[in-house]
Assembly symmetry: C2
Homo-oligomer: 202 residues x 2
Amino acid sequence: MMSKVEEKRNVLRKRLVKVAEDTIIADGLSGIRARDLASAAECSVGAIYNVFGDLTDLILVVNGRTFKRLGAHVVDQVEALDTQDEVTILTTMGHAYLEFAEKNQNAWAALFEVEMTTDQEVPEWYLTEMRKLLEIIAAPLGRLFPELEQNRLFMFTRALFSSVHGIVLLGLEKRVSAVPRDHLRDMISFVLNNLNKNPQIS
Amino acid sequence: MMSKVEEKRNVLRKRLVKVAEDTIIADGLSGIRARDLASAAECSVGAIYNVFGDLTDLILVVNGRTFKRLGAHVVDQVEALDTQDEVTILTTMGHAYLEFAEKNQNAWAALFEVEMTTDQEVPEWYLTEMRKLLEIIAAPLGRLFPELEQNRLFMFTRALFSSVHGIVLLGLEKRVSAVPRDHLRDMISFVLNNLNKNPQIS
DNA sequence: TGTACATCAGTGAACGCGCGTTCACTGATGTAC
DNA sequence: TGTACATCAGTGAACGCGCGTTCACTGATGTAC
């Protein structure tokens, strides 16, 4: 059973995460400000530092949630699919990634912005979450190329993920590109469609 | 003929660009500081604002140069090549991109960091430089798929560039990935190698 | 159950710092006559 | 060529702001007896 203190602490923690998440979704990572969070969560600035070491800790928690939501979205889309065709599955995953990034632009962008900004270590659970996402992709890819050894499979998984990520990243960066959304879908299909037609991977 | 004033101005301008470039190469975009630039260029802080509107203007000039260097490097690598095989050419380009990004990590990263940071318009010449880079890639791709109409060709060009960019970006982000350099090369080959074996592009 | 004491969450004003940008001043260069 | 005046680059101290983080204080909760 939780003591009253612990309980209050948990409540505050949750409220802060919620508020930070809402802020990031609405205004992006740069919209995060200790004073604003405090007033939105109806606590003092200092209280934040009682619950989290610093703002980065808090942001990482939000990013962890975003990772989970992203993974869930991808899995959902694949499960809604009625096919055994691995390339279709992979393409659907790519499109799901694009879709998620579009609908959650700020939160999705925050995923990569912290990493660039912060110098401190990325926490273990963060890497785990990343690995999970990669494993979701590795599954159909592994079925497509069953003869592939583990390491190489993981490398190709990374390659595909990175490719799709790059397309989405540059595609959503509006000031430079202005690529219509449908084109982004096509680009992803283009990169992934070739897979089944080329069994021998050098 | 330039007046003495113009001449001094140009000299200072060049010195500032050089100093800014050196700083970015050594310490990255975040290493740029008005006071430091001034002292390195042996002028006053105010003088910077006489020559450039603000620091971003200066940074964009450096980025423009980086773009040019990048383009030149890619072209060099391709010209050193003794083949007509378009896929080989494209792969070489991808590898050249990786190589450049590795050797000029900070300057290369700066290319994308400003865009994320700044709200102001990207200047025209900047976009032009970007377009040039894409056209270098579009050339062999166009020869590979001569039947492709202009728009679609450009879309695929973007797709390939973005893919390679994504691989390099996530690959060089050390805290998360720790992918060996050679693997990155392989990943790029992997994504690009499929092209010639799949003439019908959906 | 009641009292005394200890602990530690909660508070928010204040600290501190980094830094881009400005601005009143000076001095060199250019122009007019 | 020489003189008077105008212009504008160069100067750097000071402004201003945003913001994360701290810290001395208070008050609620928990513990010991």
